[in-house]
Amino acid sequence: MNALRQSSPLAVTGKYLALAFYVAFALFPLYWLAKIAVTPDKLIFSEGTALIPSRFTFENFQTVLLQTDFLAYFRNSLIVSIGTAAITTVIAAAAGYAFSRFDFRGKRLIIALMLITQMFPLLMIIAPIYKIVATLGLLNSLTSLIIVYTAFNIPFATFLMQSFFDGIPKDLEDAGMIDGCTRFEALRKIVLPLTLPGLGATLGFIFTAAWSELLFALMLINSNDAMTFPVGLLTFVSKFSVDWGQMMAAGVLALVPSCLFFIFIQRYLVQGLTTGAVKG
């Protein structure tokens, strides 16, 4: 606050202008998405790049919700994303805790292997993945997506969780164990409550990653019943035309869960929960 007060009004104005420009720049595509979604089909091309359409309509939303398979896609995406986020976070939390707190044989090797998996472009392994999933008879199932997404997200999530655990002083668990906890009790009663922000962040990241994934979903899912939302969006593109209005309306609806999710976990993302534990 002091720094702000001391700097000249000009600098402050400049700072806020720069921020405002950045926010406008980042949010403009979202605005355009929403704008087209509420523009009547007839006006999309005739009004061109007008910032505000002359008439509004919610017809697109109605059509998407009632006359397409959108709700099915939506449900499928929700199952896949929540499943992936939950499984990944549980495994990553356990692995991250082990990396953070214990020394065991092969620790460096496992970390190296996990890093190596992140080095390959997805395109390279998509064929073998397809083959494996096909052999398992899991093509066209949501399970296959959950398994594949979980496998791909675990390394990143593990390192994320490890850094959160690293941020919790070891003394706290020691104090807990001296106070009468077993190691597991100390983990549950002391470390876990302090890791909630970390768990929230990890859940959020993995959820959004799974929610918007297209490549594997496109490869492994063909039947309409098991399509996830990004694949489903493509059905709005037909041979002869693109249903822009409906596609954008679907896109707006697809943003809803991500937004809800982040609003929900936002309070756990507040930094500084461990303040006061140890001398800072």
Binding site: D171, A175, M177, I190, G276, A277, V278
Partner: protein, 353 residues
């Protein structure tokens, strides 16, 4: 209730030996201070007693019961950490009562014990605060409160005062001393601060590089240090160590002055002379053993520290009581209190008087 016994305790990480052959018996109700420079293994030893570090060699007994493999929660010891280690998501009273909560004590018992401890430590008005809303000194008190509530068989302190400012440190030191008098419990206290060690301890254990150098009362260590390390570690300012040669009439300083230190056991091997700054005196020229120049004079009010340079001998620190009118650059004539000087052999061991 707790007599603690360490027999040949050793600790190594792989091939790195950090402690070896630690033998120590701690009486019930005794206040033991483990002191030594950084990395001497004192905190590791404390953590081994607490059960937080596995013991890799030797036997650890409490009241005759072998404790090597007993988990920390069953050792009935409370520990105050250097970092305080308060649970950040619990308020002060829950922090203090957490051990009782874990042991499923009755609610009334819990609040009574927490209330008692809070009153003792002057925390009553803060019981509903979270640790992050407390000052350093208050956090320190809560950490102590958490230990008191336990009513443990032994208290372990791991450099509890080193994160506090100087004034608060003195205050908390007194509080810990008072606590020991009141509870009369066994306390093991780790510090690198020799003032804390000298003021608090019934007995001090001086550690260096994984070995016990000496165990004794504060006065023992001050008056009869077993070697040069202890002699220099205990006492402030640090003892002067002057190189000497053995002669038939006493020891000879490097500038040729002979000091008659009387006959001592194995005087033949005398290699260095140790004399504390307070056992040197500024005297008239004819009574002096050493003649030097004051390079720096520190006036502390209660004392005056004179950093003198003696040609042929080296730097010598003299401490005079009260204000001593001397300026930088003045000549100083120094006499040695030979009764209180120590002789050290080439291996650093003190030669008995």
């Amino acid at each position: 209730m707790a007599g603690i016994e360490l027999n040949n305790i050793a600790k190594s990480y792989g091939s790195v030996e950090v402690l070896r052959d630690i033998n120590l018996t701690i009486e019930d109700g005794e206040f033991i201070v483990l002191v030594g420079p950084s990395g001497c293994g004192k905190s590791t030893l404390l953590r081994m007693i607490a059960g937080l570090e596995p013991i890799t060699g030797g036997e650890f007994h409490v009241d005759g019961r072998r404790m090597n493999e007993v988990p920390p929660r069953d050792r009935d010891m409370a520990m105050v950490f250097q970092s305080y280690a308060l649970y950040p998501h619990m308020d002060v009273s829950r922090n203090m009562g957490f051990s009782l909560e874990i042991r499923k004590a009755q609610k009334e018992e819990r609040s009574r014990k927490v209330g008692d401890a809070a009153r003792t430590l002057g925390l009553t008005s803060l019981t509903e605060r979270l640790p992050r809303a407390l000052s350093g000194g208050q956090r320190q008190r809560v950490a102590m409160g958490r230990a008191i509530v336990r009513d443990p068989s032994a208290f372990l302190f791991d450099e509890p005062l080193s994160n506090l400012d100087a004034a608060l440190r003195v205050e908390m030191r007194l509080e810990i001393a008072r606590l020991h008098q009141r509870l009369n419990a066994t306390m093991i206290y780790v510090t690198h601060d020799q003032v804390e060690a000298l003021t608090l301890a019934d007995r001090i254990v001086v550690l260096n590089a994984g070995d016990i150098q000496q165990v004794g009362t504060p006065l023992d260590l001050y008056e009869r240090p077993s070697n040069k390390f202890v002699a220099q570690f205990i006492g402030s300012p640090t003892m002067n160590i002057l190189g000497v040669d053995q002669t038939d009439h006493g020891v000879k300083l490097k500038d040729g002055t002979i000091l008659d230190v009387g006959s001592r056991g194995e005087q033949k091997r005398a290699h260095e002379l140790g004399v504390r700054p307070e056992h040197l005196d500024v005297v008239p020229e004819e009574a002096a053993h050493m003649k030097g120049v004051a390079e720096l004079v520190e006036h502390l009010g209660s004392d005056t520290n004179i950093h003198a340079s003696v040609p042929g001998v080296g730097p010598v620190l003299v401490r005079q009581h009260g204000h001593f009118p001397l300026k930088t650059g003045d000549a100083v004539n120094i006499a040695v209190d030979l009764e209180k000087a120590h002789l050290f052999g080439p291996d650093g061991a003190r030669l008995a008087a």
